[in-house]
């Protein structure tokens, strides 16, 4: 394939480092150098506005609610109502984060935070919106910062400690879940430690607990102060010591860098390149922004074999569509419906290993649904598909049907403005250059053009063609 034009490179950069671009963003970016655009993406937004669906002092955990129920402070109906409220707030948090991603503000940070949500996967059970809110904001806060800080902060998040049962990890009664996942999934990767290391590290993490108000606490009375032998070293280690040892091991940099490479560059790992990047990441003291800047400014990042090699996750697909066209949903439920149907619901990763990603997103039914999505969102086409119930009474709120049609507002005016100077004949290619990773193939162009009707106004043409291009398999790729 020929070398990419700058326009193509920019489109690809925004698709990978964010959730795609609007025509206006591309025009703006084309006025500076690629390097400067990357710099801006990486350094954008030093202050992060937290997602907020619940005030810390008004949050009540399920256990607290039940505690109020027993002495009669709450009646049965109110108890149920409150528990339902909690689940609803987790849903609101999901939607608030989607809005933030779709806004295009600080796009790389949100994209990285989404990546870290899959890496430090934590499933809410829909019970505690405050814990999830803190967890999400911690991911966003440190998304482009230092991996050391991120690892330590997220390991101390009540949501994580709860999800991985560290509240039950006590002196003389260890629970290894937390220690195992920290090594296997967060830092070293499977097989890079021994079962003995996990046993001993679990002892070091005893006492890492949290309060119902969402504060991390170290409870000395349940901490095992004895000597442990971890990675061949002996000492009276605590949790912080274990995290420090994990960060000292270059394998952590290798493991995390490889995962970033697979998500942001190509699912097929280029071992030599990942080695180099990991080496840089390690030597920089785990500077995430630096690593991402290196990737996005490298010539190899723009090689043809990488372009179109990434299959959008359901959230990337939905958010990207919203961002490019300025779509607003009138009701919240359809966006939950789309996430559930396609298998990526924020705050409900399948397990601590996160979403498998890549080709795992695609099967016969998900592909057909993805190709229909533009018609649902842009043309209010009737939705006949229904996602599975997972059987859990706690997620019933999320299972409620999205309604037979989606009601949305689309900012067509701004979008159409970008094409006023384009000829009718040039319109399909101009739109494809914005929306797709590759130019249209000749047979494809014929098929796409056939979807417009003679005598359509310019505005109708843009809308028809956009929906068609977004329905192509290639739109699933970045």
């Amino acid at each position: 394939m020929n070398k990419q034009t700058k326009q193509q490179q920019l489109r690809y950069l925004f698709a990978r480092a964010g959730f795609g671009a609007t025509p206006a963003e591309l025009t703006e970016a084309s006025r500076s150098t690629l390097r400067k655009v990357v710099r801006q993406l990486v350094n954008n937004g030093t202050s992060v506005v937290g997602l907020r669906v619940v005030e810390p002092e008004e949050n009540r955990t399920k256990r607290q609610l039940k505690g109020m129920f027993r002495p009669g402070q709450l009646d049965k109906e109110m108890l149920r109502e409150q528990i339902r409220n909690n689940a609803q707030k987790v849903r609101d948090l999901n939607l608030q984060w989607l809005d933030q991603m779709a806004s295009g503000q600080d796009a790389l940070r949100e994209k990285m935070a989404l990546f870290w949500h899959g890496h430090f996967a934590c499933r809410t059970m829909g019970r505690n919106p405050l814990f999830m809110q803190q967890y999400a904001n911690t991911l966003r806060q440190h998304a482009l910062g230092n991996f050391r800080d991120l690892l330590m902060a997220v390991s101390k998040e009540p949501a994580m400690l709860q999800f991985l049962n560290n509240q039950q990890n006590r002196k003389n009664a260890p629970n290894e879940n937390f220690a195992r996942e920290v090594m296997e999934l967060f830092t070293l990767g499977r097989g890079k430690y021994s079962e003995y290391d996990i046993k001993e590290a679990a002892r070091a993490f005893t006492g890492w607990q949290f309060t119902p108000e969402g504060q991390f606490v170290f409870r000395a009375q349940v901490h095992d102060e004895g000597e442990k032998k971890i990675f061949g070293k002996t000492g009276a280690f605590n949790g912080e010591d274990v995290i420090a040892m994990l960060l000292e091991n270059p394998q952590t940099a290798r493991f995390v860098t490889a995962k970033i490479y697979r998500s942001f560059v190509n699912e097929t790992e280029d071992e030599k390149r990942v080695d180099q990047l990991a080496d840089q990441f390690y030597k920089s003291g785990y500077d995430i922004a630096g690593l991402m800047e290196t990737i996005f400014t490298a010539d190899w990042f723009y090689e043809a074999k990488n372009i179109g090699a990434h299959i959008k996750s359901p959230v990337e697909l939905l958010v990207g569509l919203r961002h490019t066209l300025g779509v607003q949903f009138d009701q919240p439920q359809p966006q939950i419906f789309v996430q559930r149907t396609l298998g990526q619901l924020l705050f409900y990763p399948p397990n601590v290993a996160g979403w498998p990603g890549g080709k795992n997103w695609i099967d016969s039914s998900s592909l057909l649904f993805r190709m229909q999505l533009p018609n649902y969102v842009l043309k209010a086409a009737e939705v006949t598909v229904q996602p599975k119930e997972d059987g859990d009474v706690n997620t019933q709120l999320l299972a409620r049907k999205g309604g037979a049609t989606f009601h949305t507002k689309v900012n067509w005016d701004d979008f159409e403005k970008a094409f006023v100077k384009t000829t009718d004949a040039g319109l399909p290619d101009a739109l494809a250059a914005l929306l797709l990773p590759f130019p249209l193939r000749p047979d494809q162009r014929v098929l796409v053009e056939k979807q417009t009707k003679p005598g359509q106004s310019r505005s109708e043409q843009v809308r028809t063609l956009t929906a068609v291009l977004m329905s192509l398999p290639e739109y699933q790729l970045t």
């Binding site: 499933r123 059970m125 195992r180 499977r190 097989g191 074999k305 990488n306 372009i307 179109g308 090699a309 990434h310 299959i311 149907t341 298998g343 409900y348 399948p350 397990n351 601590v352 290993a353 498998p356 080709k359 795992n360 695609i362 099967d363 016969s364 039914s365 998900s366 592909l367 057909l368 190709m371 229909q372 006949t384 598909v385 229904q386 996602p387 599975k388 119930e389 997972d390 059987g391 859990d392 009474v393 590759f438 193939r441 047979d443 494809q444 098929l447 056939k450 979807q451 068609v468 329905s471 192509l472 398999p473 290639e474 699933q476 790729l477």
Partner: protein, 402 residues
Amino acid sequence: MNRRNFLKQSAFTTAGTMLIPHFLKAYEAQMMGQGLAASNGKILVVVQLSGGNDGLNTVVPYRNDIYYRERPTIAIRPEKVLTLNDEIGLHPAMTPLKALYDEGLVTVVNNVGYPNPDRSHFRSMDIWQTASDSDAYLRTGWVGRYLDAACAGKAQQPFRTIEVDDTLSLAMKGNNLNGLAMLDPKKLYNQTRGNLVTNLSKEHPTNEPETVSYLYKTLAATVSSAEYVFNKAKVPGTNATYPNAELGNRLKTVSQLIQVGVDTSVYYVSISGFDTHINQPGQQERLLGQYAEAVGAFMTDLKAAGRQNDVMLMTFSEFGRRVKQNASNGTDHGTANNVFLIGGGLPAKRVLNEAPNLSKLTDGDLTYSVDFRQIYATLLHDYLGVDDVAILGRKFNGVKIV
């Protein structure tokens, strides 16, 4: 083979198969009827009860004092139980299942579970669907890997395993190939008949990243599979009457596809609502009634067609529930549970193994004695006649069902 090697090998297989040339040609040749991939003609229908069905109130230990002591308000009274033997019997809502049992079509396996059980719905369901250990995370399901094996080196036919639903479960996803989700043949066919989808499915771009050909390949296989099943299913298959509830409708679809000769060896169906923390009795009675009526109609239908011996229906749930009831007339999440095997030409009328031992609990839950993967291994090896070790990643001793 340990877990890691298994994963490695699976990953390797993926890379290898993608290189098979002329995929589409081979596929289309099959579609023209030039020889279908071999199968032994046996059909497995998996019915998943989502939410954690309370096994102790499904197969009731009606002579056990501990059972009645721990469940003062929700236990099934002995006189109501449909007795299977002098220890256990079925929930009274399951008369049609009892009738099948009396005809010799039902095998009950007690105490099925796995080591280090997980009490989260999602996780435990993943474990059952992927057949993984409880500390491993697999990206493929056991039926999906069966499909991989069934299609290895042959045409890639997603329709050889069908989930009767709008979306596809993890159980149905393989390394190379995914099963087909289809609520009914006409609905899927219509979804693939839009002029864009149909035309795109004929395109086979090759000069771009592999992701592109993967998407187009999936699309082509979906469109052809939908067309194949739709055309086959057009002729009359079953005329039997089914209860007009979700499971009944879905099993009717399965029966229709079986009777018109669609070349599918595994069907997957699920029914939800078994998470009975609150007011269990009414809810469970309704669901078990629906289940038993649908399965009764299904087996009666197959018997009339003379197919009851080559169709086996297996029913499971991701976990059972606690022995002790909770304060809301319900039960909380537990562990081991029973599994039903129905039809398939199994020896008549059996409760395969010992009833749950309520005096020997693990953390207040039943102790498993049969690993569910032993059942999978048996179904794969002895019933479907395929290599269970390749699909499950290691050897599980079969259960003696045949």
